[in-house]
Symmetry: C2
Subunit: 363 residues, 2 copies
C-alpha cells in the first residue's frame, strides 16, 4: 500500500530509523530537522510507494550518507550533496531516477532520502537494503542478489564528487571509504542503481512502514509515560534484555568508522551483572561478564535510554548513561550463509560463531 509522508511524520521516521539503526545510521534529531526543512521548502508531501506498484523497468536509486556517525554530528550535510550525488549518477547513466530508495534504517539514513524525495518530487520505495543499519556499503540484500553497487557517486560539502565503477561491491566500499575519509569523514552517496524488477527481487519490503510504526510507538508510549521497550518487543519480536548503565566507553574514529566498546553494569533485574557492548558504527556484539555472547550481528542490538525511552546511537553513548537493551532477530536473509558471510560475527573479527538471539537466550 502506498501512502504520503508529511513533515510532521518525520519525527516518527527518524526515531524508528534510529531504533532499527542499532546505534548507527546517524542522529535522529539532525535527520528530522534536515528532512522537515527540505519538505517545508518543497511544500509537498513525499509519496511512499509500495514495491509491488513499481514498474519492472523503473530506475530505482538509493541515496544515503556514508561515514562515521561521530563525524556526522559535527559535520552536517549542507543538503545539496545528496542531490549532487544523485545528479552525477543520473548524468553518468544518461537517465533520470524514477524512484528513490533508503539503503538502511537510521536516524539520518531513513530521513535523508525524504529530503531528496521532496526536493526532486520523486517517490520513495517502502523498503530498504538492510532492515537495520550496517557499517559497510556491500552489506545489503542487493549484494546477496548479485546487484552491483557501482556505478556509484559520492559527493562532499565542498563540491567535490566522483563516479566509481568497480569490479565488486567490496571494492566499491574500499574506494568510496578512502574518499569519504579524505572528504572529512562523511559524504553523501547514490549507489546500487537498479531496475524495478531488481528492486522487487532484492529489497527488504515495507521497512519504511515499519520504521514509521516503530517511531509512532515510541512517541505514543512516551506520551503515556510508559517505557516503549515492551511495546517494541511485542511488535518486532526479540527480547528485552533489561537495563544497564555505561560505566566505561572506549571509542575511536578510525579507518572512517566509529569503533569501540562500552562496559555496562546491570541495573534492576540485571543487578550484579556486567556487559560488554562493542560497535563499528552499529552495535555488533553484546557479551556478558564471562564473555558469553547474548546477541550477535546480524541480529539487531538496540539501545534505548533507560529513562526516556529514546533510541541511543553509538556516538551518544557516554559514562553514566542508563540504557535499556533489546535484541531482535534479523531478517532471515541475514541469517543465511550469504548474509553471515557479508555481516556475520566472523567478518567483523569476533570469534563467536553466529547463533540466533533466540537460541542464545535459551542457553
Amino acid at each position: 500500500m502506498s501512502f504520503d509522508i508529511h513533515p510532521d511524520d518525520m519525527e516518527a521516521i527518524a526515531l524508528g530509523g534510529a531504533f532499527l539503526g542499532t546505534g548507527g545510521g546517524g542522529d535522529p534529531y539532525i535527520g528530522k530537522v534536515m528532512a522537515r526543512a527540505a519538505m517545508d521548502r518543497a511544500g509537498r508531501p513525499v509519496r511512499v510507494a509500495d514495491p509491488t506498484e513499481v514498474p519492472d523497468d523503473a530506475l530505482c536509486v538509493p541515496v544515503c550518507m556514508m561515514g562515521a556517525p561521530t563525524v556526522m554530528v559535527e559535520k552536517l550535510p549542507n543538503g545539496d550533496e545528496a542531490l549532487a550525488a544523485l545528479s552525477a549518477l543520473e548524468e553518468y547513466l544518461g537517465r533520470k531516477a524514477d524512484y528513490l530508495v533508503c539503503i538502511e534504517a537510521g536516524g539520518l539514513n531513513s530521513t535523508i532520502p525524504f529530503a531528496v524525495a521532496s526536493a526532486t518530487g520523486l517517490p520513495l520505495i517502502d523498503g530498504d537494503g538492510m532492515g537495520r543499519a550496517f557499517p559497510e556499503l556491500q552489506m545489503v540484500s542487493m549484494t546477496m542478489h548479485g546487484i552491483a553497487a557501482s556505478p556509484m557517486c559520492i559527493a562532499d560539502d565542498k563540491g567535490n564528487s566522483s563516479v566509481l565503477k568497480t569490479v565488486s561491491n567490496l571494492w566499491t566500499e574500499r574506494l568510496a571509504r578512502a574518499q569519504t575519509i579524505e572528504m572529512g569523514g562523511a559524504a553523501l552517496v547514490a549507489l546500487y542503481p537498479m531496475t524495478g524488477a531488481q528492486m522487487k527481487q532484492s529489497l527488504l519490503r515495507n521497512t519504511l512502514s515499519l520504521v514509521r510504526e516503530i517511531g509512532a510507538t515510541i512517541r505514543s508510549e512516551r506520551a503515556a509515560n510508559r517505557h516503549p521497550a515492551s511495546a517494541l518487543v511485542a511488535r518486532c519480536g526479540g527480547f528485552d534484555l533489561g537495563p544497564a548503565r555505561v560505566v566505561d566507553i572506549e571509542r575511536k574514529t578510525t579507518g572512517g568508522f566509529a569503533r569501540g566498546s562500552a562496559t555496562l553494569t546491570g541495573l534492576e533485574e540485571n543487578q550484579g551483572r556486567t556487559f560488554t557492548l562493542s560497535f563499528q558504527n552499529e552495535f555488533l556484539c553484546l557479551e556478558d561478564e564471562t564473555g558469553r555472547p547474548l546477541a550477535l550481528t546480524p541480529d539487531l542490538i538496540c539501545a534505548l535510554d533507560a529513562d526516556g525511552g529514546l533510541p541511543v546511537t553509538t556516538e551518544a553513548m557516554r559514562f553514566g548513561l542508563g540504557l535499556r537493551l533489546l535484541a531482535l532477530p534479523a531478517d532471515p536473509q541475514w541469517r543465511s550463509a550469504a548474509g553471515l558471510d557479508l555481516a556475520g560475527p566472523g567478518y567483523f573479527g569476533y570469534d563467536h560463531p553466529f547463533a540466533p538471539v533466540e537460541d542464545l537466550r535459551r542457553q
Copy 2:
C-alpha cells in the same frame, strides 16, 4: 618540429626521462620494456607533434602513472589500465582525445604515454607539465595557468576505475591519492583534459625532444666509456656536484609516497664531506654536513650511478651505491612565486627559503 619515435628510441626516452625525473617517475627499464612491447604490438611508430602544429580546439589529454615508485617496481601495470583511464575520461567528456601528453619526465611517465599512443594511434605532444618530475598531481604548469586537473579518471589493474570532479587541483590530488593507496599504491590516470589552445599556453615545450636527447647523450657517452655528467651539464646547464657514496638510507612508503632521506659521504673531490639527500618520490633537498642547502626543489637534483652513469631512482638507492650528483636550474615558471607556492621547499616542509642552485653554488 614533429618527428617519429620507433621502438629502438625507447631506451633513450626512458633514460632521459629517468634523468630529468630527479629520482622519481618510475624505473626506466620497466618503462622501456612496457613501451617497446606496446609499440611492437601496434607495429607503427609514434608521432611526436610540435605544439605549434596542434589546432586550438584539439582535445589534449595527459596520461600517467600515479603512486609510489617503491610500489611501481613490484606492481607493474598490466598495460590496459592507462587505456581504461583514457577511455573512461573520453566517455565522460563525450569526445575522443586528439593528442596525448606526458604529465612529467620519468622512467615510466615518459614512456607510458608512448604505449598508449601506439595502442590508440594518437600523436603525442612534444612537451610536458613539469620539465622534471614532482610527486603530487597539482604540481604542473597547467595549475599555474588555471587549468583544472578534473575531470580526471583513475584506473587500477583489477578493473576498478573512477571519474573525479573536484573544486581544485589540490582536491583532485587528495581524492586521487586516497584511491591510489587503496588500489595498492599505484594506479594509472588520465587528467587535465585541455584544448590545444590551453596546451600551447601552459605546457613546457619540447621536453620530449630534450628527454630523447639526454637519453641519447647518456648512451653515447657510456658507449665511449665516458661518464655522462659533463656532457649533461654542458647540455642542460647547472652543476656537477661530484661523487658521493650512500652510507645510510631511511625510506618509508607512507601516505602513498616513497619518502625518506639518504646520508652520503663524499668521494674524490668531495672527500671528507657529508651530504643529506631527502626525497618524496623525487629528490627535493640536498644539504651539506652543516645543514646548508646545496640544491632545493623546484631546481632539479639528479643522481647518476658514479660508475656506469645511468640515472638512479629513489627506490633504487641502496647502501654502498656510488652516486654522481648534478643540480640543474628549473624552468623559470617553477622559480616564480606561483611555482614556488606549488612545489617550493616550504610546501614540502623544509625550512630553507628557495634559492636558485646557481646562487647556492656561489655562496
